[in-house]
């Protein structure tokens, strides 16, 4: 019973293993079989979360827009995703003439699969995880690369100008913002001396990496939003110009897969922000209160913590999506290459140096020096950046002749350029 509280996966595994080998299966076959069962269970959990995200997304967007959202099917409309899915499934599937059929059909599958792949390395708790890969962070980037590929496949195979344009824009965005994202991923790597997500979480047992590198967390969040193709970076979906971008020609369940992939991707990245910078399965520090130490080793609280953090950052991403207007592609690429990428590399270099200089204090009674030094270096970089931007903005303003139209038109639209 103790094992049930600390390591339920191992308990179930051992029990089934005994059962299967008792039936005369060789150990290796039984092992593979059990791994497969575990994988299917994990993916079903992920897909269930995905289905609930449909409800969450619709409900939250409604609230942001002062509507009620789904409220007819089930309590609070909780069962709404089920009719949504039934509708998608019974829709006629249309493949446009001239489309490259095989590639056209592979793209949505790859799109959702690339997101599901991420779940293989998510550590839900110290004992509940798929695989503790020693290159976990790079695996994350690699899965993202497959997602990029699926988009360009969809755009190319649709034989549609809008689709190709949308794919081009989306891929350019994803490629560009991948660089600051990887640079932000290098920061937890430096702090934990590991690429394994589990080790990174364990290394945050003392101090969450957010306090060591708040700027890194922020850069990762921004880059993740762009990577997800969500507003303000949702250039593929310029409704007024290229309709719905690379998945314009997709109907029924194939469109559903793109949609499901996008939602699950956003949530998974929310969970990754929680894991990389906000302590992963640590239960918000409550487990440090004397007498509640058992919470730290309980996988149930751990999994709940990871999922709650995921939902929170998913909500932040939604919040940004439904508040900020989308920006033009050239502005966005300029924002990445002229601002975010240099900033992330400067931050990376400073983090590497400060961490190396102060790391001797890390596990000693003088640890506040280490944490304070790291935190202050981040704040300093942030402050310098803001000052540079301010000076630059003033110069730009002085250079620009006042547009004749701007005098007569009210100010609000001028602010956003």
């Amino acid at each position: 019973m103790d094992l049930f509280l600390t390591d339920p996966i191992k308990m179930v595994y051992d029990w089934l293993m005994q059962l299967l080998t008792g039936w005369g299966l060789p150990g290796a076959v039984a092992n593979v079989l059990l791994i497969l069962v575990g994988i299917v269970v994990l993916i079903i959990v992920a897909m269930t979360i995905d289905i609930m995200l449909v409800w969450l997304e619709r409900k939250v967007v409604a609230r942001f827009q002062g509507r009620l959202g789904p409220n007819r099917v089930g309590l609070f409309g909780l069962l709404q995703p089920i009719p949504d899915i039934i509708k998608l499934i019974i829709k006629e599937d249309i493949t446009p003439t001239g489309a490259d059929k095989v590639v056209f059909n592979m793209a949505p599958i790859l799109s959702l699969a690339s997101v599901i792949f991420l779940w293989a390395v998510i550590p839900l708790a110290a004992t509940v995880y798929g695989a503790d890969l020693n290159v976990g962070l790079l695996y994350l980037v690699a899965a993202g690369a497959l997602g990029t590929l699926s988009i360009i496949m969809a755009g190319w195979a649709s034989n549609n100008k809008y689709a190709v344009l949308g794919a081009y824009r989306q891929v350019a965005t994803m490629l560009s913002f991948e660089i600051p994202m990887i640079a932000a991923l290098l920061i937890p790597t430096i702090l934990a001396s590991s690429l394994s997500l589990k080790t990174i979480t364990t290394a945050q047992g003392g101090v969450w990496f957010f306090w060591l590198s708040p700027l890194g967390a922020l850069i990762f969040l921004v880059a993740a939003i762009a990577e997800l193709g969500r507003s303000p970076f949702d250039l593929n979906e310029g409704e007024s110009e290229i309709v719905s971008g690379y998945h314009i020609e997709y109907t029924g369940m194939k469109f559903g897969l793109f949609f499901a992939g996008e939602l699950l991707h956003a949530f998974t990245f929310g969970a990754f922000i929680g894991i990389l910078f906000f302590g992963g399965w640590s239960f918000f520090g409550i487990e440090r209160i004397p007498g509640l130490g058992w919470m730290a080793s309980s996988p149930y609280f751990g999994a709940v913590a990871v999922l709650l953090k995921g939902v929170f950052f998913y909500w932040v991403i939604m919040w940004i999506k439904y508040t900020v207007p989308r920006i033009r592609i050239d502005h966005m690429l300029a924002f990445n290459w002229k601002f975010l990428t240099p900033l992330s590399f400067v931050l990376l270099m400073v983090t590497a140096m400060v961490n190396r200089l102060l790391q001797d204090f890390a596990n000693t009674p003088q640890w506040p020096i280490y944490v304070g030094g790291m935190f202050l270096s981040n704040i300093l970089i942030g402050w310098i950046t803001i000052e540079i931007l301010r000076v630059y903005g003033r110069k730009q303003k002085a250079k620009e002749p006042v547009h004749p139209a701007a005098k007569s038109v009210a100010a609000p639209s001028a602010g956003h350029h």
Binding site: V135, A145, L149
Partner: protein, 170 residues
């Protein structure tokens, strides 16, 4: 025949078939997609060789960047790519002969050394963290710090050169 051999044969078949499709596809986007499949097979081989880092890097760099660049380039030079006309040049039989000769020659050489290459891999040192060892090797002056920095210069030169060439001279 054990499990790793089965995996090897499956991925080898994947690699060879995909590679043949790369060099024979009429449609260049298809060729690029087949290249991705071949490179993914190579990533599986890296996993079999216990070089997990290289396997993931293979996917990140080749599939995530190089293959995308190829598809971009194909789409940018689309007019010539309309799958019309011969995809191979006039001297392709010579090329085919040369390639078969290369393969047979290499195979012959390998078979001559037969027993030298038939050994099985030894176990990795038990306390070896390959990633840590790699990091150490890349920055330690006794090992590869020079190639490490030169790689950076190489990438810089490539970036500057490519940007200069691809620039729209108006």
């Amino acid at each position: 025949m054990d499990a790793t051999q089965v995996i090897f044969i499956v991925s080898a078949a994947l690699i060879v078939v995909s590679a043949l499709m790369v060099v024979t596809s009429r449609n260049l986007v298809h060729a690029a997609l087949w290249l991705i499949s071949a490179l993914f097979g190579v990533a599986i081989l890296y996993v079999l060789l216990e070089a997990g880092f290289l396997a993931v890097v293979q996917v990140v760099v080749y599939i995530g960047a190089i293959a995308i660049m190829f598809i971009f380039a194909v789409m940018l030079t689309r007019r010539d790519m309309l799958d019309k006309g011969p995809q191979v040049n006039a001297s392709w039989p010579v090329a085919l002969g040369l390639c078969l000769l290369t393969f047979v020659g290499l195979g012959f050489l390998l078979s001559r050394f037969g027993d030298k290459f038939s050994h099985l891999p030894g176990a990795l040192p038990p306390n070896l963290d390959p990633l840590l060892a790699l990091g150490n090797a890349l920055v330690s002056p006794q090992a590869f710090v020079l190639p490490f920095e030169v790689a950076s210069v190489l990438l810089l030169a490539a970036l500057v050169g490519a940007v200069y060439v691809a620039r729209n001279h108006k």
